[in-house]
Amino acid sequence: MTVAVRKPEKPERTGTEEPPAPARRVRTVSRSMVVAAILLVWLLLFTVLRGKQTLSLAAADLTDLHRWFNDVNDSVGANRNSNPLFLYFFNEIRLVIDTLVTFVQELISQPTPGRPVPRIGWLGVVGIAGYVSWAVGNWRVALLAVAGFTFLGLQGLWQESMDTLALTLSAVLVALLFALPLGVWAGLSDRVNRIVTPFLDFMQTMPTFVYLAPLTLFFLIGPASATIATAIYAAPPAIRITAHAIRSVPETTVEAADSMGATRRQALLKVLLPMSRRTVVMGVNQTIMAALAMVTIAALIDAPGLGKTVVQALQSLDVGTAFNAGLAIVVMAIVLDRVTTAASGRAETARGSASPFLRWRRHLLAGGAVAAAVLVYLSHTYVWAAEFPGEGGVGSGISKGTTDVTTWAQDNLAGLTNAFRDILTNGLLNPFQTLLTDSPWWLVGAALVAVGTVLGGWRAGATAAVCVGLLVGTGVWSDAMTTLASTAVATVLVMLLGVVLGVWMGRSALVDRLLRPSLDAAQVMPPFVYLVPFLALFGATRFTAIVAAVVYAAPVAVKIIADGVRAVPGATVEAATSSGCSTWQLITKVQLPMSRGALTLATNQGLIYVLSMVVVGGLVGAGALGYDVVAGFSQGQLYGKGLAAGLAIVLLGIMFDRITQAAARRAGA
């Protein structure tokens, strides 16, 4: 009897304990199968419904929304000097920023009233650059700064470079003015941190581009709105890193200060700020690099400087000039990056050295200051020290050489590059793009929402649905789908590259040591620069933009994957090896599955980077949304469409980001 009662009970109990495991296995299989099923249904319906309800819009056509934007723009333009909001708010901001920028420009780049040259000539700027680099960093970066700045002059791009520098410095100044206090506040207060973080997350997912369009509405085009856009774009890293730095001061240290009766102010000034200084300087570095990238792109809204040279050269397909100016941007990026990195390392190294040297250093610094002042005086007084001598022979040499190489490449490698381009374009890009643009909009929308829900949960699905709805509303659905196709293809390529290189780096310390510096350097470059060499190889097509996007986005993906693979516990790898795994099995069955979270994060970052680059590619014939935005800046009647396209980019960005973030969270859990 007792046995009979027990028996049915036992399987039941194991039954209730077991289910989680089999159920989960069924579900992971089904998730990818559901996605495949969705795609299959889509393909089937596509063959039936092809070409219907595609919402395509010709280049010059406008929707009501676009016209309404145009009207708003016109009315803002008409009322700029009468509407109190503009009169007392936007115009005032613009005035202050404009004064600042003009002041810095007249200092180093633009002629001052009554003088044919800026107040400080090249010799003075080089002197100051060298001195400051030495004072905040070390003599090596000082040499680099002097050499780099001189090289800019030799390239014949002194004035353009100084314009870029002036705008960058002004924007960084404005950004830090707000970012550092805000960062400290967010570091001290949990509530502020909670409020600020989602905003920062959101701002970081936006491509550089999209800040420009709305700002021009309020601040017109030109240096002032370029500076404001740059400051907005560059502030988040400084806020985030400052808050992080304050937060990572060890609790015991803060508690020790409290226990000795420090006031809040004393704790902040004597403990928190000094201890987070090094990290904060790293935040300043990030801000400067972001600002430089943005300032070059702000050339689209008529910001002066190197970016403008690049844009103009790209538009006339003058690869030589574009390369020369792009090189100048790279040089400036390297100098700024190295100097600020050295500055953040300075605190550590200086303190280890003996005190007699420190006393010497003070004298040397004073001497250096005098020398720099003399150089500034010379450059203010004498023409030879004010205007960079020579005609920029190095620069024209570079651009001529580049043109020759390009011509040679186009003549001789055309077969190879064209074949490569055509295979990818016809084999992958075109079919995919056709599928997206020629399907009815509701079909694509439904597929996107379904895939989003399957991968990221119902919340991500809901976001996707809202984004799809708004995308339709922007009236540039078809262009958005073209951009989506390019972005998706580029992201797939980025992930392929990322997995191969990332796994290689994650498994071999040697490869990591060799590759990482160049990846770091690549991340510092403004996205613009990547277009130039590929324009030479592939001509002005959307393929150029895709390749540039892959190169631009790959470093971050590679690094994330490499770190993910490296983070797999050594014990697990050892256990797998000891049970006889081959290298291939180790990678596919242990290391990649265990770094699933990193893979999704890499996809997320890759997508965002690719998106911002594909849009910049609008400059070199990538068409679609990027072209709409660029055209919107230059032609009044397309302004509204450009703004709508900018919005569409934001929507695409949000959709990608939410889905992949949600998927990453799932993978991590």
């Binding site: 000795m260 201890m275 200084r277």
Partner: protein, 362 residues
Amino acid sequence: MTPATTEAPRRRDTPEDRAPTPVISVRELWKVFGPKAGQVPGSEELRGLTRRELMDRTGCTAAVRDVSFDVAPGEVFVVMGLSGSGKSTLVRCLTRLIEPTAGEILFEGEDIRDADAGRLRELRRSKFSMVFQHFGLLPHRRVVDNVAFGLEIRGMSRAERTRRALEVVELVGLSGYESSYPDQLSGGMQQRVGLARALAGDPDVLLFDEPFSALDPLIRRDMQNEVVRLHREVGKTMVFITHDLSEALRLGDRILIMRDGRTVQCGTGDELVGAPADDYVRDFVRDVPRGDVLTLRWIMRPADPGDALDGPELGPDVVVKEATRAVLAAEKPVKVVENGKLLGIVGDEEILAVVAGQEGDA
């Protein structure tokens, strides 16, 4: 033979004749973390719950529950317990680094819980100092500037605070390292800096939060000796938190054992070993060499009529270990005498029961 009578040294000055007014007096102190924490100490029903039950019922954790004790001037008072027993929370409540939920903390008669921010700061600046487990030094300041930090906060002039800091640096045996940075020093030396920083302000009370737990055993012993030496030299009142029983027995005049936020037992080391309050304490002190801790008071027996009462005499507070030789050497049982009154006698049997039996049963 007879000279052995009073020569056995007293191990520590038991604070027999200490002043009656305590420096710190804690009464029914509670610290509860969680939503509506304030309700817990007041409610008869909730007070009685175990930690788990309280968590399930209210979502609160009671880190310190109904703890009361007094610390006498010049005393080394040790709070001991395993991790999670609430001892670190308790010591932070004393200076309100963590705000207590209920109870009284009297410092020289003043309730610290009533102090406003300014008064509290003043107390922290001049009356209390704390030494932390993870040192809490400022990496961007030299040793001397770290030590002078508390003085700087008070607004003392640079020359004066540097002079005072250098004095204290010498006191803790760090002369020659004034200009080093904390990360150039070993863990033990860093904690000496922490000690110096606490001493620099000449506080009335030193609070130690597991100061030596992060150090190697040998260094730890060194630092314990250092504390004993400093206590002898400067005579500060000390509240010392530790999870290490041998450290507690070495340093503490009295020891309070905590478990799950409650006081389990509070007494001198020999009281804990000789008369553990419950199985938890008994388990704790199981491995203590009893001969090192117990005094003759704990092992003596009443004199039987048959005992010879002309043996040597010893005081009741002589530690067994130190009396062993004298007792074994004497041919007759040793008399335990306090103020001329015979308390009991100790023979070879009693001594051997402790010394030989200490490994096994206890």
